[in-house]
């Protein structure tokens, strides 16, 4: 019996999630276990027509035979090697995207919000490299660009609500004293400086001063 067909496990899903999943999603009361084209099937075998595609992702519908075969074949060949090495497919994909978009270069990541983050970072880097650092972004009202800090900072408040978790506060660098030895740190570097510790203490002091009393 596979995980998806275990009836007892499926009946328990909402209760088990309530115990161990961070509650940031108010899910619809349905548990999907299978898909075929534009159809989704829940744990009771009921059929639904999918007008959402997992929020625009399942562009070819579900369990598309050509895609399923390609993924299975690739999984049996090689899935991941990191960006430390070449592999045969990134250049092919970048070529296709260049032909479609007219933009000659691609940087690959794992999600839309990471793509937005990369664009913001590259735009800033552009001005920095040209020796005329510019840091401001102008974004459209009623926009949504994702949930990570950079993407949130160009997403309008009318879309995402309060500013409380929107912007990344300025960070303070404080070198960690890690034992056993951290491989990133050369042994020759001097020990933790008193300046960085006092910077951190000052920052903690500031944030305590800003926090409302409970």
């Amino acid at each position: 019996m596979t995980i998806s067909q275990n009836a007892t496990a499926i009946a328990d899903v909402p209760a088990r999630e309530a115990r161990h999943i961070l509650q940031v999603y108010r899910r619809m009361p349905v548990t999907f276990v299978r898909g075929e084209g534009v159809r989704l099937f829940d744990a009771n075998g009921r059929e639904y027509l999918d007008l959402l595609s997992g929020v625009g992702v399942a562009s070819l519908g579900h369990a598309h035979p050509i895609l399923a075969r390609a993924i299975a074949e690739q999984a049996q060949t090689l899935i991941h090697t990191s960006n430390l090495f070449y592999h045969p497919l990134q250049a092919l994909l970048a070529e296709e995207l260049a032909a479609l978009s007219g933009l000659p270069r691609a940087f690959f990541c794992n999600s839309g919000t990471e793509a937005v983050e990369a664009c913001l970072k590259f735009a800033r880097r552009y001005w920095h490299t040209r020796g005329e650092p510019r840091a401001e972004f102008v974004a459209l009202e009623e926009s949504f660009h994702g949930r990570t800090f950079g993407s949130l900072s160009v997403t309008s408040e009318s879309t995402i609500g309060s500013r409380s978790s929107r912007s990344c506060p300025s960070s303070v660098s404080c070198r960690a004293e890690i034992r056993p030895r951290c491989w990133r740190r050369s042994r020759e570097r001097p020990p933790q400086s008193s300046q960085s510790l006092s910077r951190a203490r000052a920052a903690f002091g500031r944030s305590r001063a800003r926090s409302p009393t409970p």
Binding site: L49, L51, G56, I71, L100, P104, N110, G112
Partner: protein, 192 residues
């Protein structure tokens, strides 16, 4: 915006994560509005379910980025690239974009009819297979009524119902699904 960019030197970023890659019946929506972006973000449809996104860059921006300026461990691995290559092949050579244009017209026609029928549907916005229905009431009961009638839709804000069907949906399935949406709106309208 193109002029403002030329005047100030500001680089334009087009976020095509949701509207790009065939969703509106063309590879990218920026072409429809004549925008000339220097950076484009894509994601969602690209891997058809396998997580992959990309930033696309003009040569002038790319020329200012050096080794080590950015990076990711997983980004563009073989599995994700294989899925994306398969998707793009089907999109452009497999008739998927043409399907979006064809079925998109059906959506436009049927949604206009539906809006005329239900007074609380204030506006229908969209193109291709990306549609929003702005309601004059909370959209949550419509989403639940849809689920009860066997269609999956969602709410993007208090009052907006969103439709993003797979790009391969047939006219027959679209017709069936939109009839169910019509019925869901009717039952919510009655309960008002």
């Amino acid at each position: 915006m193109n002029q403002a960019s030329e005047r100030t030197g500001a680089r334009l970023i087009a976020d095509e994560v949701q509207c790009g890659l065939g969703r509106t019946g063309r590879p990218f929506y920026f072409t429809a509005i004549g925008l000339k972006p220097h950076l484009v973000s894509i994601g969602k449809a690209l891997g058809s379910g396998v997580p992959i996104g990309a930033a696309l860059l003009s040569e002038d921006v790319a020329a200012t980025i050096s080794y080590g300026d950015h990076g990711t461990t997983y980004g563009g691995n073989l599995l994700a690239c294989r899925a994306a290559l398969t998707f793009l092949d089907l999109l452009t050579n497999g008739g998927v974009i043409a399907n979006v244009a064809r079925v998109g017209e059906l959506f436009e026609r049927r949604l206009a009819q539906i809006a005329r029928k239900h007074a609380f549907v204030k506006e229908v916005r969209g193109e291709g297979l990306m549609w929003g229905l702005e309601l004059s009431r909370d959209a949550a009961p419509v989403v639940l009524a849809g689920l009860e009638r066997g269609i999956i839709i969602n709410r993007t804000s208090e009052t907006v119902v969103r439709l993003l069907p797979p790009l391969v949906i047939t006219e027959a399935d679209a017709d069936d699904a939109l009839s169910r949406l019509d019925a869901a709106l009717a039952v919510v309208g009655v309960s008002e």
